[in-house]
């Protein structure tokens, strides 16, 4: 049976094409000069350059973390190019009409139409191609309610006070090796600002695409929700099939002020490498949010891509009654390795957090959940509930669970449940006996397993996520 399963889940990576776009790309290598040139390309103010240089100097003294359950060849940071932009972007297009048609075709191939009239109703999109944001849609409409949604490089020039006030406050420059690297060399990403009391009138979304060879992608996202505001944001990611590993080290910072709510969803489908583990994206990401009084931060992630995933979207529940949520589906197959989970840091009183993690492993992959729940001394009446389920497909994969609990408050309650199950031959036989082919059977069982997480995704994307999972599991793609 397991051979049959292997066949059923061996698939082509659908987003694996390379776009033929002329680009300006830096020579590989990293030193202060490269950082100065990035800053110059972005026409940044001096304070930003200084901020980057300080991050770089710290990074040089830091060591790459090795505590995760991941095995890979050491990364040579001097062989990576730290900046690549499509040539036609020199003078940023003012409208879609000026965007390189090849770029538009790239996104159409990915199923992301950029023409506003063709877009999903009510979703504004920012598109980041290699190191630059190429287009952001619906900006005027958002501006009517005072919402700012733009590339972060633009925000640094246009809204320096906001950026200065919050950048690096949630994920400090020296937080960890990859965050420090990102702080030094980040090229683009999205900036979102929701004014006080405003409910963002549409879903915001960013699509990231790595195209250029030997190029790292270092995007930085900053979302600020003022008091009583509300926003739902989604990011999607893809990359071409390449034999070399490519580095992606992003930082996302969420600031949820009193009574606000930020919902952040990710559908991550970076190139995972081939069945022998050649190529694929190394995905080292730091995502964190701070929730003030009565605020809520909700992370939902569907992770199906990348050769290596190192990612722990976290919540610092600083304000009393603040709420943190983490809903995750991580699927690994072939030689993929994922070490992912969350940190819930309860500082305020009556803070609550929920963690639902669903790990699915197939092939020779390794899938690790790593989570920390920390109850601070002032977190009176705080509560956490964690459910951590692993599903194994076949018998050559591995699943691990590392839940860490630290409680400094006797009134805080931490609940943890964990299960491991397999897609059993009996289940597959039942499905097939009822006329379903094996691919359909597996995807149905896996979808059932993930149901609790999918229902947390914004409506438009729940379907997308289900399909992505199905494609990730299916033998062929139509």
């Amino acid at each position: 049976m397991s051979e049959q399963i292997e066949q059923a889940i061996a698939r082509e990576y659908e987003a694996g094409f390379v776009s033929d776009i002329e680009s300006d790309t830096f020579e590989p290598g990293l030193d202060e000069d490269v950082i100065r040139r990035i800053s110059e390309m972005k026409q940044e103010p001096d304070w930003m350059l200084e901020w980057r240089l300080q991050a770089f100097r710290s990074w040089q003294k830091m060591a790459e973390p090795d505590w995760a359950k991941l095995g890979y060849e050491p990364i040579d940071y001097q062989t990576i190019s730290y900046y690549s932009a499509p040539k036609s972007m020199k003078d940023r297009p003012k409208s879609l009409a000026e965007v390189d048609p090849e770029l538009i075709r790239t996104y159409e191939k990915l199923g992301i139409p950029l023409h506003e009239q063709e877009m999903l109703a009510g979703v504004a999109v920012d598109v980041v191609f290699d190191s630059v944001s190429v287009v952001t849609t619906f900006r005027e409409k958002l501006a009517e309610s005072g919402v700012i949604f733009c590339p972060i490089s633009e925000a640094i020039r246009k809204y320096p006070e906001l950026v200065k006030k919050y950048l690096g406050t949630v994920v400090p420059r020296t937080d960890n090796f990859f965050a420090a690297l990102n702080s030094a060399v980040f090229t683009d990403g999205s900036f979102v600002y929701i004014p006080k009391g405003v409910r963002c009138p549409m879903e915001l979304s960013t699509y990231f695409r790595i195209n250029e060879l030997n190029t790292g992608q270092f995007e930085r996202t900053l979302i600020i929700a003022e008091e009583g505001s509300h926003v739902s944001y989604l990011e999607g990611c893809t990359a071409p099939m390449r034999d070399e590993n490519q580095l992606h080290a992003a930082v996302v910072e969420l600031v949820a002020l009193d009574d606000s709510e930020i919902k952040y969803s990710t559908v991550q489908n970076w190139y995972p490498g081939d069945e022998n583990g050649v190529g694929g994206i190394f995905n080292f990401v730091t995502k964190r949010g701070v929730a003030e009084k009565n605020a809520k931060i909700s992370w939902t992630q569907v992770e199906t891509g990348s050769a290596i995933t190192w990612k722990y979207p976290s919540c610092i529940l600083r304000g009393d009654n603040s709420v943190g949520e983490f809903y995750s589906v991580a699927l690994t197959r072939s030689r993929q390795q994922a070490d992912t989970g969350t940190k819930m840091i309860h500082l305020g009183k009556n803070t609550t957090s929920t963690i639902i993690s669903k790990g699915i492993s197939a092939g020779n992959s390794s899938n690790t959940y790593r989570g920390l729940v920390k109850m601070g001394p002032n977190a009176d009446g705080a509560r956490n509930f964690t459910e951590c389920d692993s599903l194994l497909i076949g018998d050559t994969c591995a699943a691990h669970t590392f839940p860490y609990i630290e409680s400094a408050n006797p009134t805080a309650i931490v609940e943890h449940e964990a299960t491991t199950s397999t897609v059993s031959d009996d289940q597959l036989f039942l499905c097939q006996q009822r006329g379903l082919d094996i691919e359909k059977a597996i995807s149905m069982i896996v979808n059932g397993f993930c149901k609790d997480v999918f229902k947390e995704l914004p409506m438009e994307f729940a379907v997308e996520a289900g399909k992505l999972l199905e494609i990730s599991l299916e033998g062929s793609v139509g």
Binding site: M1, Q4, S421, S424, D425, D426, Q427, F429, L430, C431, Q432, Q433, R434, G435, L436, D437, I438, K440, M444, I445, N447, G448, F449, C450, K451, D452
Partner: protein, 252 residues
């Protein structure tokens, strides 16, 4: 519609079916009885194509097709249905979703138009009612947390929805109270239309009071040891299987 000739089958190299012959014509109901471990469930699995059960020799023809050449799902879509002795749970997949996919696969195979959502719901509700399962069961996970009897009724519900041509019921009466037994039997009887055929595996003659079989076979040691009419089931009920040994000795 089904013809089994000299079927041998083994599991992990151990021979279980040892030259089994059986002919089922359209509309017939065949009951199969026999001692524990005789190979009754094995027969159901071999016919439906379960991987571990290997047909080593013999021939099985189903509606003019070589059944043993087909994959499990192809056999199912060709109209073969197996009601399981021990139905398995599929957590998180609702009965509704599961039925929708399987009914859609069956209809596609038969070249029928797909049901609209409303038509499907109506049919599913009616099927639930027929086997006396509350409609809420459509929303629950497949067999998830169902009682033994509910699982058996759920199998019959699926059978009604799928409209197969050959139904193999593996002890669909075991563990049922008398009311549930009648429900299951009624469900089966309602599907008897003169064309659909049934192989009913059971240990108890009482099921056959409700489902009148055309033939009763005793399966022992991997073969049909004796065939007859409904009276054979009564004989078994009265005197068990001890006579089988004598019978075999007499044959020897």
């Amino acid at each position: 519609m089904l013809s089994i000739k000299n079927l041998h089958a083994s599991i992990e190299g151990k021979e279980i079916l040892k030259g089994l012959n059986l002919n089922v014509k359209p509309g017939e109901v065949h009951a199969i009885m026999g001692p524990n471990g005789a190979g009754k469930s094995t027969l159901g699995y071999v016919l439906s194509g379960r991987e571990e059960y290997e047909a080593t020799s013999g021939k099985v023809e189903f509606e003019q097709r070589d059944l043993l050449e087909l994959e499990v799902d192809e056999r199912a879509r060709a109209g073969l249905f197996l009601a399981f002795q021990y139905p398995v749970e599929i957590p998180g997949v609702s009965n509704m979703e599961f039925l929708k996919e399987s009914v859609s696969a069956a209809r596609k195979e038969r070249g029928q138009e797909q049901l609209t959502a409303a038509e499907f719901l109506k049919a599913a509700r009616a099927a639930c009612e027929q086997v006396n399962l509350p409609v809420e069961f459509l929303r629950r996970g497949v067999n998830e947390g169902f009682s033994g009897g509910e699982k058996k009724r759920n199998e019959i519900m699926q059978m009604i929805m799928l409209e197969p041509t050959l139904c193999i019921l593996d002890e669909s009466d075991s563990g049922l109270d008398i009311d549930a037994l009648k429900v299951v039997a009624d469900g089966v009887n309602s599907q008897r239309d003169g064309k659909r055929s049934f192989i009913v595996i059971t240990h108890y003659q009482r099921l056959l009071d409700f489902i009148q079989p055309d033939f009763v076979h005793i399966l022992a040691d991997g073969k049909i040891a004796k065939s007859g009419g409904p009276e054979l089931a009564k004989e078994v009920e009265a005197s068990g299987y001890a006579w089988l040994e004598n019978h075999e000795e007499a044959n020897a």
